[in-house]
Amino acid sequence: MKLTEGQLGETYRIQNLSNLHEIVQKRLLDLGVIEGVEISCIHKMPFGGPYILEVCGQQISLRKKDVECIEVEEA
């Protein structure tokens, strides 16, 4: 499922990142975010704004359209 369909605060495992823009994929790789890693959404901004995610012991923020491209499964 898409990460946006998950619950806030729940932890999921990343299944597929290849639908993301290439530059986003590269930056996520720099941050250690790859398939198989656990991820959770902790906040989301109003009016379809960005999400704040917790992954690999750090917080990062991505736009909603990018978070939609992250496919996850139950951890």
Partner: protein, 667 residues
Amino acid sequence: MEFALFGNPNTGKTSLFNILTDSYAYVGNWSGVTVEKKVGDLSNNKGQLIDLPGIYTINPLSKDEAVATEYLMNGSFEGIINIVDASQLLRNLQLTIQLLEFGAPMIVGLNMIDVAKSKGIRIDQEKLAERLGVPIIPIIARTGKGCDRLLDNLSVHQLKTSSIKIDYGPEIEKLIEEIMRLLPSYSKISRRWLAIQLIDANFVVRNKLNEIMDLSLVDYLIKDCEKKIQQRYGEKSIRQFLFKRRQQFIQSILADCVTKQSVNKKSYTEIIDAIVTNSVFGVITFLGLMFLIFKLTFDWLGSPLSDFLDGLISGPISGGMEIILEALHVTPFIQSLILEGIIGGVGGVLVFVPQIFILFFFISLLEDSGYMSRIAVIMDRILELVGLNGKAFIPLIIGFGCNVPGIMAARTIEHPKERLLTILLTPMMSCSARLTVYSLFVSVFFEQHKALIVLSLYVLGIVVAILLAKIFSLFIKTEESIFVIELPPYRVPQVRTLLRSTWDKGKGFVKKAGTFILGGTVVIWLLSYVGPAGTNVEADESFLALFSQWIAPLFAPLGFGTWQAAASLFTGFLAKEIVVSSMNVIYFVPDGESLQHIVSGVFTPLSAYSFMVFILLYVPCLATVATIKKETDSKKWMLFSIIYGLMVAYTISFIIYQGGRLLGIGQ
């Protein structure tokens, strides 16, 4: 002796730099590249430390990060200090490994051991040092703990070159060997490192090698190998494969050296973020904070201090100087130059130093505490609508202090077109120099609503920038914009770092007052002192008046068609503060007090507001224009920024003045 400081973003690099060095020796340019480097003298006088932008890997995404890679390849350093966040070792060591592969003598500063401890992470430093093959010094950069030891260890015979070699697997190792054979043998940089970076598609390394050799065979070999990797290991890309091999290596080290106990405690960051990045309270908190900063800068703290300084300059200093000059029997020409030109002009600008430093202090506070990246998240949705990115808000906020560092901060934006847009819009942000003009006018016309009127100008700048962004983005087609940002944990800002970065930002203003503005003021004074009829002419008969009278009618529809206003606007291109100095000189007033009196006779509240709006939006100052040229590397965009500024300023001032007249406000 030169040392380079490398590390991930938000690992305390700036704090460490501030502790290890006494002062910025200089900020200069790299030859050929439009890049700024910060150099500091080590406090044990044993050499210099180069501060580089924070990077996650040697393979850059943004222009900002490319600086670090370029320095690594072309710089003349003797050793590397790699600062590493002890609580984020898995990620931080990716960079460390790449630096070790590069093969320069290195020492690791293991920072934030206190944070790591509170997270239940225990690190066996000796074992880690042994496995990495370089010395490791545990430090807490924020408090300075351990930094003396780091400094003591900074000498070439103590720094070690690691013999670390990661096995990237048979396919990649074969590829590395093949590429190494193709590379020129005289390279001073490790050929294995060059080969690995080429495989990783590092564009800085690639561009540099492309200058001296044909890379088509290398590209073919890499493509071929990538296919094999994809087939055999099911890996998405060769880059990800390299990353995973490094990560496996790091994990094997960490398994030996690090133990982790889980600690179940809510961190400060989580608690603060529950409010600050809350979907409702986030925006309210942000706006509230901004308002508070403005109130403090202009009303509660800044104004009393400015008034005090003004009293000092116009009273004892000006008076004392007059007595001294009288006693020395100095000619009236020199007397007039010093009292009306220098003290009047430069003093009129120096009065605003407190407000400017307070503003810079708050900007440093926002940067240092970790809140700045949250602002980017909060503002992203709005900026996305106009083809920008939340990260653009950071250069814009820094632009409130001074447009020049604001434009430079746009380097962190990965997307070239978004970066260009941000650079073009930053001059709309009302910088502290423009503040001097507002301060003068609001104290005359808007005594009751000082902060509100000034805030309205800042907001106008932002609104205009947002509207222009929408218009520009129709022409400068931004493809898909990128927004990935790390939110570092909040940190209590260190006084030392705060004061230093406030000073580093603000000193330029003081320096400018002593050089540029002094010179400009003297020239203006001279032009207003001499005329076709000789020296010491009536102001209206001076060269300045004659010249300005030509342009003045242009400004009549905006409400300020006097030659004095035209002259000060013209000189304001040098630096916006000069507008105030010029007025001081032109109206022959030695201090702010009576200038205010004169101004109240020449302007109406409406024309004063129109004038302030014009000052806000018209041509960026000389230094900003030069920075735009440097950062965009294009004369075309520089000219564009001047022309569109003038057009926008004229249009909006026109609407405000004529609209106000029709409605009968403020006359």
